[in-house]
Amino acid sequence: MSSDAIAIQTAEAAGRPWVETLHEWVTTVDHKRLGILYILYALVFLIIGGIEATIIRIQLMRPHNDFVSPQVFNRMFTMHGTTMIFFVAMPILFGFANYLVPLMIGARDMAFPRLNAFGFWLTALGGFLLYFSFVGGSGLYGAGSAPDVGWFAYAPLTSRAFSVGHSADYWTIALLVSGFGSISTAINIIATILCMRCPGMKLSRMPLLAWLNLVMAGMVILAVSPLTAAQIMLSIDRYLGGHFFDTQAGGSATLWMHFFWIFGHPEVYVLIIPAFAFASEIIPVFSRKPIFGYPVMVAATICIGFIGLSVWAHHMFTIGMNSYANSFFVFTTMAIAVPTGIKIFNWLGTMWGGKIQFKTPMIFCIGFLLQFLIAGLTGVMMSVAPFDWQLGNSYFVVAHFHYVIVGGILFCLFGAFYYWFPKITGRLLNETLGKLHFWLFAIGFHLTFDSMHIPGLLGMPRRIYTYEPGRGWEIWNLIETIGVFVQGIATLIFVANLVLSYFNGPKAGNDPWDAWTLEWSVSSPPPVYNFASIPTVASRRPLWDLKHPEDPDSHYE
């Protein structure tokens, strides 16, 4: 029956004018289409952010290089960071959450479909505003253009005295606008998960992806609000005579830091927790075993959510807090390493005793496990405040967070693409190209980001457009730049795979991976109404129960 619906849709689509299709997509409130819009939007910005990173790395390839001026370089690192966090990572993760959560909990859509569309278009507007700054940012004295204050825009550099023109305002307002979009989506996810689960799906039977997106959504609301407040305060400083952060009038630069990092630290958990969700769905299926320790995985995530709100000043160990304050944040930061670390053990426990299939989604998740382990350990190093007094604000930090975001989050995202692309489009991605993508990307990633730790240890600070020769930094910077090109080629292969497979890939059918959650019970792609009749579930793996009626999960949990 569902294949008939597709046949009808295709036949209709063949004859329709393109403006009608465009109009449908622009006015859609369907969670699946909005999910796809979020993902495509993020992929475009991933390419743009990648170009910015390439410009940075070419400039730093050798000392005293003059590929770009310092002014342009400073805009590049500001835009690269801001773009990747707010207009790549967050939208793409919201996109997957949007697409998958209703399907996995047996619902027909999100709780608030129009709020969903509103959230997407706000985010889209934010990205457009940020990039319009390149064109429209000319302000006083012709100074302006894209913001160049760093992605965390420390005060008082952002005051009118030191940021002439409107470039800082584009940063502030773009993020303010997209922040409201993020909060809308977070509210939607929470309401959907709490209110629209299908019969039988108690919270303790929900897929881990749903649980983790629930915690992520709670953190978005708690984290984005202080950032929004700080941006309003900054705008008041810049235009309405305020002095919150204006140190020349008695304001406080450290106040901005506290506001920013109370956002900034939970934000990184907002980014990694959905990546954990992908790994927690993919690893069990390709190990052919249920996730090891489901209750503890949930509890650990909730712990991370709470403790994550108490660690923010580990980004501020060098600002001159007293020894007691520093020690407090050392303790909370080390504490959060425990629930985060034991998740790695749970994933290993899932693979232990399994029959691992090395399909592309799985090998990306195995790469994630190795790389997240290393990233977590460099994080523990920096939680040791005195060590951070050396490592902080150096290339060691840059290496650490790229290890988490690229080596951890992006690898899981690639895995998620290979795993759910068949569900979304009805066609499988090419396995050979997938493996080539993985290996090339892994080689490039390690070339760049393993090397990057070393200049940090040798005294290279971050956000510098050039550096002095003879400090031992040159060779590592050169290797890092080479790695970027390798990663670029791998990404192009991935994009080619997406495009070619969309048109020519083998048909996937409902359940190409022999998986166990509800999205694999409907056609690929799913009908617009998701489920012909809302399912009833009796365990965490409803499709396992159907496929193994002699040994259902419901007997054990």
Binding site: P156, L157, F162, A253, M334, M351, G353, E468
Partner: protein, 358 residues
């Protein structure tokens, strides 16, 4: 409902190349770590592992402890991951049956929760001790006191008790363990955030406007130690370099005496001094004995006692001085020194005058 797949043999090439790749990675890391610690004798590489001062030494010792623990954790977990990936791969012969469906194990999960908690407790105690030792260190009476003021994009150094004002190049006495003479720095900022980082001497501490901070160093060896600003402060953050000269007590005292003297007054270069005193130079720069009392830019009274100009961006030579005054953007584009647009004659006279300011 299972889709029949083409049977796959164990992906040996992938497994072997992965293990070999990571082994190469680990070897490379160890090699790099070795290279880092084997820094050349002349302090040209400001490695945090090549410490020559008590705070940097404490940090290095703590870092060895931390690296040991994290290294051990890495080896254990990496070995488990490698083992799992090889031992539990799907074999062709056994592919049809699902493996035993294990949902968890309370004992195992308890163990791998308690052990990390214990590690955290130990690490925290070791860390808290070093934090306190560095941040709450008492200041001995013989300490040299320096006030460092961060500017966009240069460092102002004042020695209040000695009546000295200089810029960018810090001179401190070497500190003997038996009779310590550390240098305590008060850290202020005239504009945006900066950070004082000389890796071989101490961890970094930020200079934040309206928020005085402090740090201290007690170098055990003489020599020149390199560093730079470590908090993005604007366009020329990259060239806000630091040079710390650790002198023997005799050399330090000689330097202090030289800095305490008023500017040399060489009547042969009165024309150049006249240029300084009648153009905008004196709005930003101070030279004792002249009308120049500006504090926006570095004090030039003893300009020629410094090896570099523009906060380390260029060597202090006549040619560079001339270029800097005529066109600062050619050395440090975006610095706040304006191009002075002097005539060639004025420029030459001015440079000759500046060269007398020993």
């Amino acid at each position: 409902m299972r889709i029949v797949e083409t049977m796959q043999k164990a992906d040996w090439p992938a497994i072997i190349s992965r293990v070999v790749g990571v082994a190469v990675l680990v070897a490379g890391v160890l090699l790099a770590a070795g290279l880092c610690t084997a820094a050349p004798q002349d302090n040209s590489v400001p490695s945090i592992f090549d410490s020559h001062s008590t705070p940097a030494d404490s940090i290095r010792h703590l870092s060895h402890f931390v690296l040991g623990i994290t290294g051990l954790i890495f080896l254990v977990v990496f070995s488990l991951l490698s083992y799992v990936v090889v031992k539990f791969r799907r074999r062709v012969a056994d592919a049809e049956r699902e493996p035993a469906q294990v949902y968890g194990s309370t004992q195992i999960e308890l163990a791998w929760t308690i052990i990390p908690i214990l590690i955290v407790v130990v690490l925290f105690l070791a860390t808290a001790r070093v934090i306190h030792a560095i941040q709450d260190a008492p200041r001995p009476a013989e300490a040299v006191e320096v006030t460092a003021i961060g500017h966009q994009f240069w460092w102002e150094f004042r020695y209040p008790k000695l009546g000295i004002v200089t810029a960018n190049e810090l001179h401190v006495p070497v500190s003997d363990a038996a009779y310590p003479t550390p240098t305590f720095l008060k850290l202020l900022s005239a504009d945006t955030d900066h950070s004082f980082w000389v890796p071989q001497l101490a961890g970094k501490t930020d200079l934040i406007p309206n928020h005085p901070n402090g740090t201290w160093i007690d170098p055990h060896e003489t020599g020149l130690f390199l560093g730079q600003c470590a908090q993005y402060c604007g366009t020329q953050h990259a060239k806000m370099l630091l040079r710390v000269y650790v002198d023997t007590p005799e050399d330090f005292n000689a330097w202090v005496r030289g800095q305490q003297e008023p500017a040399k007054r060489d009547e042969k270069e009165a024309a150049g001094r006249h240029v300084f005193e009648t153009t905008a130079c004196l709005n930003c720069h101070a030279i004792t004995g002249t009308n120049g009392t500006g504090r926006f830019g570095p004090d030039l009274t003893h300009l020629m006692s410094r090896r570099t100009i523009a906060s380390g961006a260029a060597e202090n030579s006549a040619q560079n001085l001339r270029l800097w005054i005529q066109n600062p953007d050619s050395i440090k584009p975006g610095s706040l020194m304006p191009a002075m647009k002097l005539s060639d004659a004025d420029l030459d006279a001015l440079v000759r005058y500046l060269e007398t300011l020993q």
